[in-house]
Symmetry: C2
Subunit: 334 residues, 2 copies
Amino acid sequence: MQLVSFVHKGINRVGVRCSATEVIAIGESSDAVNVTPPAMMDLILDGTDAAVRALDDAKNSAAQSIAIDDISWLPPVPMPGKIVGVAMNNSASNERKISAPDHPAFFLKPSSCLIGHKAAIQIRSYYGSVHPEPELAVVIGSTIRDVDVDDAMDGVFGYTIFNDITSNGMRAEDLFHYWALYSDDSDPEKLHRREQHLSYAARYKGTDTFGCMGPWLVTADDVPDPNNLNVQCSVGGEVIAKDSTRYYNYKIAEIISYLSQFQTLMPGDIISCGTAFKASPSGKTIHQANLQKIAGPVSVSIDGLGTLINTVLVDDKPIGQWRLPAQPELNQVS
Amino acid sequence: MQLVSFVHKGINRVGVRCSATEVIAIGESSDAVNVTPPAMMDLILDGTDAAVRALDDAKNSAAQSIAIDDISWLPPVPMPGKIVGVAMNNSASNERKISAPDHPAFFLKPSSCLIGHKAAIQIRSYYGSVHPEPELAVVIGSTIRDVDVDDAMDGVFGYTIFNDITSNGMRAEDLFHYWALYSDDSDPEKLHRREQHLSYAARYKGTDTFGCMGPWLVTADDVPDPNNLNVQCSVGGEVIAKDSTRYYNYKIAEIISYLSQFQTLMPGDIISCGTAFKASPSGKTIHQANLQKIAGPVSVSIDGLGTLINTVLVDDKPIGQWRLPAQPELNQVS
C-alpha cells in the first residue's frame, strides 16, 4: 500500500495512492464537520491492518477520491520525532577509509529540513558546495529498544525515498582540530590531552530543504527484500548514481538493532540507511553534482518505491548580520 | 514566571511554580470532563501574556493547586521539534583549539534522549566514559528565519537548564579518517581527494537519558541578562564546574541569528548554548567526572533558573546481538 501525506484545498490529509492519477483520502474533512482529518502518524500508530480498513471505508465515498494533479505533496511523515542518518554505509566508500568504526555511525537531521515530492531544494551561495545523496529510508512502526537483529524488522512500518542533501562546503568548515581532555582509566583525577578531530553536522546536513522525502510511503508488506533494491539518481536528466541497497555495509536489521541499543526508536521515526553513490555507467558520481553549479531537477528512483523529484533554486542572498560589535569577554583558562 | 511540565495522577499537565512547595496547574483536567489539558507547547504558542491570564483563571480554582511533592517532573518542553547544541562555545576551551571555525558550529540531540528533573541518567558499561555538560538552554517562542542579531532576542520565549550528557568514549569511536571527494571549482567534472576527519555525534550526544532538562522554564521577561549568569555543576556533592555564561564565545543573539541563516527555528525548539566547564576552585573539572566511576547525583545550578538534579544509574548490561552472520556483498569501487 502506498500512503501519501498531502495538502488538498488547504487541508493536510493522508490517503492511499491507488493509481498514477488518484489518491483515496482517509477520514472525513469538511468545513461543515469540524474534524481534523487523520495524519500519517495516526495510521502508523494504528498499524497497516487499520489503514486497510480505513481505505475500505473511504472507497465507499466518492468524495474521498482526489486527482493526484490537485494535491501538494508533503513528506510522508511530516514531523517525525527524529531522523537518523547512517554515515558512510556504502561499501563503495570503503577503499577511501583510512580508519573507521566497526559499527554503524549516525547523524541526525531536524524535521524542519524536510520537504516533499516536487518541492524546491533551496540553496544559497554561502552554503558552499551542495550535492544529493540518494538513500532508502525506513519508517519505524513501534517503540523499539534493545531489539535483537532477528526481531528488528518487525518494527518497520514501511519505506520511502530519502534524498539526504549535504553541503560538503559547510562540512569542511565545521571541523575542530583540538586537544581533547580524557580522564585516566585507573585514576579519574588525572587528565590526559589527546589530539582529536571533531566535525559537527547540524549545518551541513540540517539546513532547510536538505531533507527531501517521498513521494509516498510503501508499507513493509509490499517490500519483500529492502536489502536488494536498485537505486538511481539523476540531476538535470543525467544519471549520477546507479547502485543497490545490497551493497550497504550494514543491513537494515543490523542498523535498527544496533541503534536501538542506544536510542529508543519511536513510531514515525525515520532512519535513512546510507547513500547509493556508485558511479553511473557514464562515470558520473554524486560528488560531481554540485547543485550550486548544475541545475536540477534532482530525481531519485528506488525499485518499488517510485521516483522522488525535486527542483533546485539557487539564491545569491548573502548571509545576514549576525555578529555583535562587542568582543566577548574571554574565560580564564582552567 | 516559572512554567513546569509534570505528571500528576497519571496525567500530563503544565503549570506555574508559585513557591517551593506549590504548582498551580493550568487548564481543566478530570475524568468527568474528557478534555486534554494544555501542554507547554500551547503556552509557548499563545505567548507569555496568555500564560499569565491562564494562571489568573487557575488561581480562582482551589483544585488547581498541587503540592510539588506530588508531581513527577517532565522536561519543560517534552517533545521539542529540535534540540540544537552549540559546540565548544566556552572560551576556556579556546587554548586547546588547534584550528576551529570562525562561526558557531552545531550538533543535534533527539527528543527521545530527554529526561526531566530528578529522573535517572542511565548508563551502560558499553557506553564508555560519560560526563555531564552544564549549559544554559534557550526555548524558542516564534518561527524564526534570517533574523538579524539585533532582533534575535525577540524570538526567545524563555530559558531552562540543560545537562548535555556526553560520552567521550563513544565520541572517540565514531571517527572516520578518510579520503573525501570534492569536485573542482572551475571544472565540476574533475574530482579531488582530500584527506578528512569526520566524526558523528548521534550516539555520543543522543543516547537515551543524555538530555536532562529543567526543572522548569523561566519566561524571558524574568531573565534580564542571560549572557551573565553563573553556572555551577556538582557530582556527588563535589563542585566540578564554576563558570558563567558571560564567557561564551558567541552570545545568545549571535547563536540564534547565525543558526537562523540556515535553519528555520520553531516555537518550542531548544538551543543549548555551550558548556560551562571552567574548573571549580578546588581544581576539579567536568572531564574528571566519568559517571561510570563516580556516583551521582549530578546537579546543575544557574542564576535565576534553579537547580536541576539527576541521579545516575550504572548498568553492566552487555550490548545485544546486532550482527547478522552473513557478510555483506561488497560494492565495486567506483
